[in-house]
Symmetry: D3
Subunit: 122 residues, 6 copies
Amino acid sequence: MIAHSFTGEVFGPAQRLHGATYVVDATFRRPTLDENNIVVDIGLATQQLGGVLKTLNYRNLDEEPDFAGVNTSTEYLARVIADRLADAVHAGALGDGARGLAGIAVTLRESHVAWATYERGL
Amino acid sequence: MIAHSFTGEVFGPAQRLHGATYVVDATFRRPTLDENNIVVDIGLATQQLGGVLKTLNYRNLDEEPDFAGVNTSTEYLARVIADRLADAVHAGALGDGARGLAGIAVTLRESHVAWATYERGL
Amino acid sequence: MIAHSFTGEVFGPAQRLHGATYVVDATFRRPTLDENNIVVDIGLATQQLGGVLKTLNYRNLDEEPDFAGVNTSTEYLARVIADRLADAVHAGALGDGARGLAGIAVTLRESHVAWATYERGL
Amino acid sequence: MIAHSFTGEVFGPAQRLHGATYVVDATFRRPTLDENNIVVDIGLATQQLGGVLKTLNYRNLDEEPDFAGVNTSTEYLARVIADRLADAVHAGALGDGARGLAGIAVTLRESHVAWATYERGL
Amino acid sequence: MIAHSFTGEVFGPAQRLHGATYVVDATFRRPTLDENNIVVDIGLATQQLGGVLKTLNYRNLDEEPDFAGVNTSTEYLARVIADRLADAVHAGALGDGARGLAGIAVTLRESHVAWATYERGL
Amino acid sequence: MIAHSFTGEVFGPAQRLHGATYVVDATFRRPTLDENNIVVDIGLATQQLGGVLKTLNYRNLDEEPDFAGVNTSTEYLARVIADRLADAVHAGALGDGARGLAGIAVTLRESHVAWATYERGL
């Protein structure tokens, strides 16, 4: 649940400071299941995703140093979250089984009519 | 899609400036249908609800004079919108058929796990 | 999944022959559960609701004798279905336990932004 | 995510040991908002509901002493959860503001086509 | 919200004149974001999609010259809409940024249990 | 609506006998539509999917010989169902038109926050 504003005429009234709820889903992909018959440890994945979101939630993104001069669009934020989750996978934070993951996608739904997904390999 | 902050320890991290998407539903209630077999003219109702939302959307509610010193909680905003729609009904903006409406409820969904509804008579 | 048209200027372009998918939910209400700890036999209720819908589905309602000269609005159809289910309850088609039901509500969702509910006692 | 079986011919194949995911929503109702402009402290409410669910989740309800000889139907479980939340309200676990609550409703959705709600006063 | 009928025994009762609500989503895909950090101008995309849908909404497709002798199945209509949006992209109606789009997908949901998607390059 | 337990520390409390509702969607993919302008006969597809689910529904999977010694995770069950549907396609049970299908995906949603999809060629 963040506040932010956008720069650029294309954004119309969204150039004003406003806000959004993002419901965030992470999807993990792999060619074959691990030895436990799962794609990923959903407990660890939920925990890591929660950790990433905690650094963004209840904030005014216009004042976050990480995003200085950046349009924090839904699609941009999807990439930020996917990249941070990918870092967590590579660091082993999703368990050893997660080393067999082939890709990740993060979807941010800002309402029932607008969402963005960023997909990348692992 | 509004920005706002809350005052009061009960709000925890939501005391910071943050934001929310509200998906807004209005429900109209009456004991019997009008002569066209409808509860309300859905075209006019959508138009009036859209007009009310336009005065709130893409704004920082902390800076709106109408809400000075007020916690613009989801439940409070549901009441504001319901009352403004009720005014529109009484002013005839939803058509003559709408004069037979008995009640109105406005629901604001801020995410898939949190919502508030305000119900009132007409 | 029905076709129909409406009579009356209030309906605008919906005066033309068009159509709709209605996703239909029936809700049953009672003060205390029956001896099996249930509100209603969901199998029988689904069967009876399915039977009612079969008489309406894949039809042009403008040509159904039951609806001659009637605007088959979403709210009107909700009542038709609720009344037919109420008849089934009274006839014992939902089982003996259903005789303790106090009320029924039928909701027709015609899209993600429009729906109507009809509620009645039993 | 519980396992259970039912006793009674009305349940058909659900007399066998099977299971269900219940997505649980709690709704709180009051005539006027508290001094913070809210119905209830959503953080405390979520915490208390989570605590109630933790005593039920990932279990075979047939083996829980609390439910010996009971059909743990969706509607029955909705009442169990509502009553436990009501106890929490009365014990002050949802905060002082929650003492102004007038009612509570608990909905368990077991799939996209079946759910049950239990409503009670406070 | 269209009326139509189908030709072919495979369609069973849907050979009769009936109707459907289609909830239509368009998804745009590109390898990298544009200079504003967005995939597409969602305002222009919504406007163009709305323009395409306006030519189909509240009609009996059996009487539209464009669809003479054609089974206007959900999957067929998804293609029609995707192709018309692709034409709009190529004509510049979604803005200069949209020239970097790589693909488009259109999904029509006719109910909670049936939908079709058509995907194509741009 | 199945009961099952899991083997492996990664599953935490889900090592106990518990249960789940799976809402199951099957998606069929092909490069061009068949002569009726459809991807697949949705009636036959629903019937075949229903037949596959009937062999799993209202059961304790721990006691099914087919799954002896297997973690019947959501992702594993998605594959089982997809493979059985693929067999049905190859056996002609989805009609001659279905011989042009290129792929199939099966999604099992166990709640509003957890799901798994298995995709394969045909």
